[in-house]
Point group: C2
Chain length 418, copies 2
Amino acid sequence: MIEYERDFDHKIAESDTIKMMNSFGSLLYESEHGISGYYNLPEDSKNILREIEVFTELNREVYENFTTIALIGIGGSSLGTKALYQALKNRYENIKEIIFFENPDPVTISNNIKKIDPDKTIFIVISKSGGTIETTSIFKLLIKEFDLNLKESKRVITITDEGSPLCDFSDYYGIKTFVIPKNVGGRFSVLSSVGVVPLALAGFDVESILNGAEEFLKSFFASKEEHLLIKANFLTKFAKDFPITVLFTYADSLEDFTKWFVQLWGESLGKIDKNGRSVGLTPTGHIGSVDQHSFLQLIMEGPRDKFVTFIKVEDFENDLKIPDISLKNIEKVDYINNHTFNELLNAECDATKESLVSKDIPVDMLILDKLDEKNLGELIIYYELLTSACGIMLNIDTYNQPGVEYGKKILQKKFKKD
Amino acid sequence: MIEYERDFDHKIAESDTIKMMNSFGSLLYESEHGISGYYNLPEDSKNILREIEVFTELNREVYENFTTIALIGIGGSSLGTKALYQALKNRYENIKEIIFFENPDPVTISNNIKKIDPDKTIFIVISKSGGTIETTSIFKLLIKEFDLNLKESKRVITITDEGSPLCDFSDYYGIKTFVIPKNVGGRFSVLSSVGVVPLALAGFDVESILNGAEEFLKSFFASKEEHLLIKANFLTKFAKDFPITVLFTYADSLEDFTKWFVQLWGESLGKIDKNGRSVGLTPTGHIGSVDQHSFLQLIMEGPRDKFVTFIKVEDFENDLKIPDISLKNIEKVDYINNHTFNELLNAECDATKESLVSKDIPVDMLILDKLDEKNLGELIIYYELLTSACGIMLNIDTYNQPGVEYGKKILQKKFKKD
């Protein structure tokens, strides 16, 4: 269960109500006409779980006996999976390790390679376009390094668009491919095969993640989550006043979730709008209480240009306590003795929120009762819907990313001229 | 060696020259009159290296035979050490592992405790004020968990201000304390005992880090680093046009360095200025090429409110290559074959920079020939000086953080009323 608590003052004018209703209609239209396919994933992706079962059953000799997944993918092909992996892995005793090959940083790649026993590893190559330079380069290296026999290897799986170069490559070698729906962009793809296949193979309860997302989606389209539209309306109406969207999560294991959010928010909303204007909201992700000792001073006393969302986890399912020890000369902090770290962290979250509210900084808070699969599924679809709603209100195409193509062309030229 | 490359167009008016000269004078004044003590650290901290030698020699039975350092500290007490540890540890074969106890997140603390063998661990407790609630709480837990005998333990070291509660506590038990100079604030303290002690004990060549910092400092005060003042002038003169300062580093191992930068920049410059106005520059840290697939679209097409600094490492001292393999149907990326990953990553950095320059986005680049101790020392003092220069030009007190006190009071109230 997630509770949505609003601490920003937003008087809703009639024009806002109309804008919110229109946006709701547009979201419904997007969903029903496949403008983006992510709306269908919570339901459709359950088929992938069955597809995985059949495939692993047919290839038991490999899939009964592996310890590690090497996931080769970057950006939308890895950030969402990484977020869920980090947030949830503490809940399991016997999860497979996922090693992420993302950045073409040679030091990281070398370190990762050392961790891999090829006879105990599944290699999953993920690229929506099917020709991502970083991913194919690393894949080639792993083929060479581990002498992967592509023609007979059931250890290699690809995840890509139908008809992409990587898809054709897989067909040629008889490599198993899981397809990404054409109308699902990378940053909206975590609940597609992109996230479902590695997480299910690793042993996560993916069905509950999908259920969590599906329930919220249904509730939203049944007009029961008006708070989301109110927030989108506030963020876009006052985009010039509060151009920076801060996500302040009080749980270490949500750090990768903030990175997923940064991609979703930044790449979706940073656009030239239909009137030719540059618009967008700049996301930043922070971890409490660490960043109380870092970013908080700037929010409190710096320019009033930030909207802050707190994520709090009510119950970490961990009862670690501050012992009843009094340290000679440091007795002044004894008031915290016998409380749990869970209590301390959450009290810090509340105190930080209150001090921001006291300065009239617009704030809201998402309160998760636990860090579990269902809540993570809900959190993901909540942010995807919020992004889509803001995109509609900003008059932009939420789902493309034309700004990154130019750099790719420059890169090609650098090497092709050699 | 670090090369400083400017790609923003800055015509320097006469008023700018005067501002830059005045700021230079103020920095000199700050340094000579101890307004902040960080200017003296590169030289003074060499004494700490000798102090460590003497101490470990006297306690050989413990310090000849440990594998792990448990570092208990948060914010300015950990971010800088973490940054250097992550950036440099790949250069060493036999470095001690440092386990960071920062956030009071119970899951992280539990996981970290499992990694510790108390008979092979040194415990370093760091708190400038000497009463940081997170740090003392975790320290108490470790005392209980590992049954630390404070009266006889040479395994415990504290780092704090002279006369602080933690200092008095240490005196009472005869625990070795390394002192932080009073006029060195947490976020400027990495080259004091705060960073020097754990890094030297772990086996890093700290002297080279200090030398790198000292050389740049001398060069700056010999008026040979004018580029720094030009940048500070640009950033502060156009603070309203470019309120967001982006650090885009092309090396995975500099991720924690970007977090250190975020604290330094955000907490130092986010202030109410001498005229009562809220000023500041909002820092964000990113890693290339991963964030080309994330944040880049927003920089390219979103609001023109960002100044972007790239950090590039010319030589990763790693010759890992993309093998000369052609993947059936993905031949279009074969142009990269036989190049190193080092080349690929740097070409991506250059291509991204060029595409930003083509859009007239203000950019500069720091080019490190290698990721070594000397360059990291220089990088640290460069950013500290840049922060101080911007602070002077913004008319603020760079070294305090009044905005975070209110939250601490609310926190106390929450528990004391129980």
